[in-house]
Symmetry: C2
Subunit: 279 residues, 2 copies
């Protein structure tokens, strides 16, 4: 009898632990992730800005056009690198989504049980990687990188991949943001989801003041992380009088990146996720 009681106690404790794991997502943990990911994004952008544009990486060369290699060098590089990372199990973690989904046997990596499935399964597929890809290469890159060609195409593409992965993780994390917001206000969300009312969902999700804080913060991070530091301390104080040219990546461009692309795309992910939240 005593051992049955112990057994039930253990079952209960295990259940509580599992519940805690599954619901281990709060607005605070989501915000902490998004804030920390800003540093990763800003670092990756500063690193990419070290190289010139290196245009030959992004053109589909004449000798490839129409062949099975009908892709730019950068695209081929990302595909092959993602294949290695897929084989290494990177995409076993639902937070990471490849740009070129592979069906590679999960061969190399040590086993790990990602138990804390937090997303609603029927909505977890939502992502905007195609949009991120297009914006990064067709709009953002030419604003970030100075003109020029130093031939370091592989290092440049590796740097692009790090930027793309950071942006993708951040933006597609909108699925987690939406899940948390949904759980916190189910009644309102369910009504709008049932009505397929995108505008109402967007309104529920948006907070202009919060978004403004984020945009000003990433701009400040670009100033702090992109300044020249000497052994006596930072050369630039990061105040508004400092010339933009003294930062390794233009802080106003980082502001624009969040204002025009990162925040709107994250909200797009949130809305699309919610539209499938009751499937």
């Amino acid at each position: 009898m005593a051992s049955l009681y112990t057994y039930l106690l253990i079952c209960n404790a295990t259940l509580l632990l599992l519940l805690h794991r599954c619901s281990g997502l709060s607005l605070d943990t989501v915000r902490d992730f998004l804030t920390r990911e800003e540093d990763t994004i800003v670092f990756s952008i500063i690193e990419r800005a070290e190289y010139p544009l290196n245009l030959p990486s992004y053109d589909v060369p004449a000798y490839f056009a129409g062949s099975r290699h009908d892709a730019s060098f950068a695209e081929l590089f990302v595909r092959e690198s993602e294949a290695v990372q897929a084989k290494a199990g990177r995409y076993q973690n639902q937070e990471e989504i490849p740009f070129f989904p592979f069906r590679v046997p999960f061969a190399l990596s040590p086993p790990y049980n990602f138990t804390s499935v937090k997303l609603y399964p029927a909505a977890a597929f939502v992502n905007v990687n195609d949009e991120i890809w297009s914006i990064y290469f067709n709009q953002f890159l030419s604003l970030l990188a100075k003109n020029g060609d130093d031939g370091n195409y592989a290092a440049t593409a590796a740097s692009d991949l790090v930027c793309l992965q950071a942006l993708s993780k951040r933006i597609n994390y909108g699925r987690y943001v939406a899940e948390v917001k949904f759980r916190g206000d189910q009644q309102n969300y369910i009504t709008s989801i049932r009505n397929k009312d995108k505008d109402a969902l967007m309104k529920l999700l948006s907070s202009e003041s919060q978004e403004d804080v984020v945009k000003r913060r990433v701009q400040k991070k670009a100033m702090v992380f992109g300044q020249n530091v000497t052994s006596d301390g930072p050369v630039e104080t990061g105040d508004s009088k400092s010339s933009q040219a003294s930062f390794k990546a233009d802080p106003s461009l980082v502001y624009k990146l969040y204002d025009q692309w990162v925040i709107p795309l994250t909200k797009q992910v949130e809305v699309e996720y919610l539209l499938h939240r009751l499937d």
Copy 2:
């Protein structure tokens, strides 16, 4: 006659341009590179510190031991990633040296003519990648990463690779440092090289005051780049009263990294390069 004169003028201009490219290495450009590479190293270390140690990545698993896969997951990951980067032409630039040299056809990348060969060919092979590998995995990593296992082995190994590449590029840049110093003081260096006098070379190369500036600067960079930044500015001022724990990577560990490993290994590369400088 006029056209011959024009032709000679063009030849002369081209020759001057080539000479300028080949000798485009000065103590200033070398120092600028090393200073900028510090930012890359500190960023990469802060990023790696975001993950826990993830020990299963570094053990040779029992089911691999003795097989042709007798390597840790991290090593397999680096090997496969370097193979992609080799195929993409990364190591066409002499500044980059793979940890696992591959003989992969240079297939993917757009053609680029790295004309500015600056190293002395018979000494260019010098590198300490094996030492960097060993120190990184056997000494540095356990000091940097907090204990724990979150299963993100591929993302962690990708982060390790970025750290390793940054450290390798910086430390093996000692070849360029040595080349510049040699050119600036040939008489003294030639005597010591002929005598194979490592101690004299080390003395010629060393500047305690300059090394001290570098160490204090990277520690300061770890403070500035690893602090928490809000939209109103940095939370931490980076002064000595701030708790070490508030930085994303311990600044004193970054100091130690340079003091015990980066600077001594760079000087080792310089000495070994010089010993082959007259071959």
